[in-house]
């Protein structure tokens, strides 16, 4: 699976979002699909799936507010 497919899978399995039909650039948090209460859980899931260490202190809403932005953030952290 690609990074984007993995992220869509997390959003579906863990948060019940219809992730297959979410446009990659569409906002997730600021559109109310997820709220700040979900933010830490999302980061934990991303850590687990991608084997990364993600500090919540280093991630802003802008880094995870769409599938495309999450992909960018994961790629950045991988590098």
């Amino acid at each position: 699976m690609t990074v984007e497919e993995n992220i869509r899978s997390i959003l579906s399995a863990e948060f019940g979002l219809d992730a297959e039909n979410i446009v990659a650039d569409a906002p997730i948090f600021s559109a109310g699909l997820l709220d700040s209460l979900n933010s830490l859980r999302l980061l934990m899931q991303l850590e687990g799936h991608f084997g990364l260490s993600i500090s919540p202190l280093d991630v802003s809403l802008d880094d995870v507010d769409s599938i495309a932005k999450i992909v960018e953030t994961i790629e950045r952290l991988k590098n």
Partner: protein, 500 residues
């Protein structure tokens, strides 16, 4: 003279016109600007035909403008109905039916169609407008005469976890009393700059607003979604010294620590008890953070219990003891008082200022009586008079400070195809305090993945009601009366298969 919350608040701000008083993510206004904006808005309200004792819908999610309009509505004796911009059509329709409100301020194209027929009032908010002299401006405010001044200061709504939200009438007397009593305990300083990151329509936010301004400090509010990094940025950018938020926010603050938040000296947690682990984390990460834990309800005009900082270590997990004017008792089902340490229903009595939910006699019969207000929480009182919460009496619990109804989740699960029986309860969670768990007995051959169940539930319940865990069981054990047999369920759970 009758109570008018605007008179009390603005009367406490008559000096230092250039001092910052109110802000949001983008702007900050001083006292001279606050006074001028309240004056202009109050006059605009009058010109638009808004009269004393009339309701007006006041939309949140609009930063500083919301607060100046709230004060202006109170000046002329109008009764604001404070609601979120994303209000559901069903809730909006029920508000129209119960209040006959005919005017609205702050609506836009994203507002519910149910409000399309309301007269839109103009917001005159202009952050550059300033009064020349605070006393003169205060004298020129069109305060309503006593004989036309209503007791009611407006309506806010409960979370509606078990049905449509209930309307809670706020009175000027209760708001004023609560803000003054709470202010004595919280001890904000005039040079403080307090930020809240909770929806403005919450009583907690309104209470923070009143207490902060009456303390002479500056109030900042943000309703946008934030990650920890965003919260740190806004706290530092605005040079915030005091922060009010939910237990979840306190976890953010603890993770950030003093090194990242050098200006923060004071914090207040509200919405639920603060877990001892978070208290310890805050103590470890800040040398001198003054941490208050409070317990409040919309029905009581704000806060009615507070755990002062000096008791945090000895009474960790408590929500403190009542503020002046309130008494808390715990009682058994027959109404008799519980012994020290015995869990019972929590009743609040004293200067309640709450005569019942708005036009909801059925709910009022259940919660108001000679013993006071039955607030739906369960808990116990220790030998020193400190209150400890132990859950709710109606299957409702708090997830990150927000109410969740396990019954609503169970009902939603039962409405899904392929589910033979279902039950929801809650369990401890490191991140969110308590989270819902769903136990499901499937019809043969219909078992679904957890993500697919969650996707269906999203169409039926709020986001915070989505279970954190789904557990498949061969059957949900029930008693002869149909209630879930929790003892047998616990036995079954040991052998369960976790879908996740």
């Amino acid at each position: 003279m009758k109570d008018n919350t605007s008179r009390l608040v603005m009367g406490s701000l008559l000096r230092s016109p250039n001092k910052p008083v109110l802000g949001d993510d983008e702007i900050c206004i001083n006292r001279a600007s606050l006074f001028e904006n309240v004056r202009r808005q109050a006059e605009q309200f009058q010109q638009s035909g808004l009269k004393p004792d009339q309701f007006v819908v006041l939309m949140c999610d609009r930063g500083v403008a919301f607060w100046t309009e709230l004060l202006a509505a109170w000046v002329i004796g109008a009764k604001p109905i404070c609601i979120e911009r994303k209000i559901s059509d069903e809730h909006a329709a029920s508000i129209l039916e119960m209040t006959n409100v005919s005017k609205i301020i702050g609506a836009d194209e994203s507002s519910t169609v149910e409000f399309a027929g309301l007269k839109k009032l103009i917001s005159t908010f202009d952050p550059t407008a300033e009064a020349g002299d605070l006393h003169e401006c205060f004298s020129s405010l069109p305060f309503v005469d006593d004989d036309a001044m209503p007791d009611m200061a407006g309506l806010i709504f409960t979370s509606g976890t078990t049905g449509l939200p209930k309307g809670v009438p706020l009175t000027h007397r209760a708001l004023n009393f609560n803000a003054l009593s709470t202010g004595q305990r919280l001890q904000l300083r005039p040079r403080d700059r307090l930020l809240i990151a909770t929806p403005f329509r919450f009583i907690s936010s309104i209470s923070h607003f009143l207490v902060t301004l009456m303390s002479g400090a500056a109030f900042f509010g943000s309703e946008r979604t934030m990650m920890i990094k965003d919260l740190i940025t806004i706290l530092n950018d605005l040079k915030i010294s005091a922060f009010g938020g939910s237990p979840f926010h306190m976890q953010f603050i603890a993770m950030a620590g003093e090194a990242r938040l050098p200006s923060l000296r004071w914090a207040m947690s509200s919405g639920d008890h603060l877990r001892p682990a978070v208290i310890n984390q805050l103590a470890d990460s800040f040398a001198n953070l003054e941490l208050h834990v409070v317990y409040g309800m919309a029905e009581l005009g704000g806060r009615f219990c507070e755990l002062p900082p000096q008791y945090l270590s000895d009474k960790a997990g408590s929500v403190g003891y009542p503020i002046n004017g309130f008494e808390i008792t715990t009682r058994r089902g027959d109404g008799s008082r519980c012994d020290v340490g015995e869990i019972g229903d929590i009743y609040v009595s004293g200067q309640l200022g709450f005569d019942g939910y708005f036009r909801n006699s059925q709910a009022n019969e259940n919660v108001l009586g000679q013993m006071g207000f039955l607030n739906g929480d369960k808990g116990f009182i220790d030998e020193d008079g400190f209150v400890f919460l132990s859950g709710r009496s109606d299957s409702v619990f708090k997830r990150s400070g927000l109410k969740v109804s396990a019954q609503v989740i169970s009902d939603a699960l039962m409405s899904l195809d392929g589910i033979r029986d279902a039950f929801s309860s809650s369990e401890e969670d490191v991140l969110e305090g308590r989270v819902p768990v769903a136990y499901i007995a499937w019809q043969e051959g219909h078992e679904m993945e957890s993500g697919a169940i969650a996707m269906e539930l999203r169409k039926l319940v709020p986001v915070n009601h989505i279970p954190a865990r789904y557990v498949s069981l061969p059957d949900i054990p029930r008693t002869g009366s149909g209630k879930v047999d929790r003892r047998k369920l616990a036995g079954l759970i040991e052998t369960l298969q976790d879908l996740t």
